[in-house]
């Protein structure tokens, strides 16, 4: 019990003292996971909308694949991204392994199916007559899709939170493709694993507290945006 209290106290010390290493790790975590979430939103919402609003043979299989992808294990993604980015791998010439960019790539792959799955679900749950109504009012197809996305923004915001929450807390892929290099690819989760291995439990707890606090603040902000726009 003392250990947990010491850890929380240590967390405040590290924050108040603005420890440059901890700040760097925190900033990198937010930057990497934030970028990955934005990329996954762009891909997830656009493809998710296409899947939800068109009908084609094998659509159910595609939707099941997307839904399975929502539970994609980060270590599996980490392994395959590593293999592709190895010097001897197909994308080795890019020299991306053990860089922050590599973590962004892996995390985007993890978050995209989450956003896509929630997008498909959200758009399909809208009343079918809404589409006809929008088209009848003379909207183009693009305008129609945009209006539907706007209509489904409440569950879509949940998708943003689920995607971001999934990647900021993920450790398997980050350690495999990032390598936990000090001052370069060390993020909050990989640093926590390392400090635990080193027996620095107070620092590990401090990092966990930071991770939880930032998740809370960001999810609170997203919830505010979501609830503000609640349709009447």
């Amino acid at each position: 019990m003392d250990l947990i209290i010491e850890g929380v106290v240590k967390a405040f010390h590290l924050l108040i003292a603005l420890d440059p290493e901890v700040l760097g790790i925190t900033f990198l975590s937010l930057m990497v996971s934030g970028t990955a979430t934005i990329i996954s939103l762009a891909i997830g919402i656009s493809i998710g909308a296409i899947v939800a609003l068109t009908s084609f043979p094998g659509k159910r299989i595609v939707v099941s694949l997307v839904n399975t992808g929502m539970g994609l294990p980060p270590v599996v993604v980490g392994l395959f991204v590593s293999i592709f980015l190895w010097r001897s791998g197909p994308l080795g010439f890019l020299g991306l392994l053990y860089t922050p960019t590599a973590i962004i790539i892996a995390q985007s792959i993890i978050a995209t199916p989450i956003v896509m799955g929630i997008t498909v679900g959200a758009l399909q749950s809208l009343p079918a007559s809404l589409r006809l109504q929008i088209l009848a009012l003379g909207a183009t197809r693009i305008q129609m899709v945009w209006m539907l996305v706007k209509e489904a923004r409440l569950p879509l915001m949940a998708g943003v939170m689920a995607g971001f929450g999934g990647v900021i807390s993920e450790v398997g892929a980050s350690i495999m493709v990032g390598g936990n290099v000090r001052g370069y690819t060390r993020v909050l989760t990989t640093a926590t694993v390392m400090e635990t291995g080193r027996g620095n439990f107070d620092v590990a707890i401090a990092l966990s507290v930071l991770l939880l606090s930032f998740s809370l603040v960001i999810n609170y902000a997203l919830t505010l945006i979501q609830q503000r726009d609640r349709p009447r």
Binding site: L28, M31, G34, T35, I38, W86, R87, S88, G92, L97, Y98, T99, P100, T101, I104, G179, N180, V181, R182, Y184, T185, M194, T196, G197, R198, G199, N200, F201, I225
Partner: protein
Amino acid sequence: MMKQRGMRQSAAWLLAACAIVTASAASAAEKKGSTVILATTTSTQDSGLLDVLIPTFQKETGHFVKTISVGSGQAMAMGRKGEADVLLVHSPADEQKMVAEGFGVHRRLVMHNDFIVVGPASDPAKIKGAKSSKEALKLIAEAKPEAKALFLSRGDNSGTHSKEKGLWKAAGMNPEGQKWYQQTGLGMGETLSVASEKDGYTLTDRGTYLSLAKKKKLHLEILVQGEPLLLNVYHVIEVNPEKWPKVNAAGARAFADFMLSKETQGVIGRFGVDTFGAPLFFPDAGKKPESLGL
């Protein structure tokens, strides 16, 4: 409408900012010199030695080091595929094989410490005072089931795991699949925690044990030590650039030379003295392995 434009705009700004940060972080690393990928064991990282050495090397040479801390087995697998430039490892038999097969060059002795067998103070298999590690392992293997002796193995092809397998072989036993023999598949630090929690025995390098015993409040005591067979030697190996043209040979050589330089060897010899009262590693640059009793 205004709100949405604001949101879209801020999203665009965020994306741009992220891109700039990524680009600048990447270029900061590239600017200073080349990037060296060092694949090494968990013990050098968990003990904190590399955190002392790497910043000095980066400042002196301008090379940027990416330390990938894995078991010796995985480190050598990375070297064999050309995914690392230089290795700092402690698995002599596998190292010799790697060099003989032409994947590694310039294997040089850096430092040593020793392996110890640790276990609970209650010592259910009564191995304390055993004449050799061989005898100790035999006592663990032949302990009565009601004594509940348990041996925790790393099971991760690390240097320590490879040493442990060698010791079982020397004792003429195969513990695989036995009830009293469990593999953690984790690094040394975690395996010590597991052994402590489960009142088990394990083989560890002295450096990791000393650096963690107090911090992790381990309920483990040193039970077997001080035998030539238990020596733990670390070598630096450069990955052969003739096999893998993408390997950063110059950076690898610079790092290897740095590890063997007089100043670094001095730092290695002093590391841990003020915290643990004894050095964790003994510098060995220029020595022949035979002089250590290998």
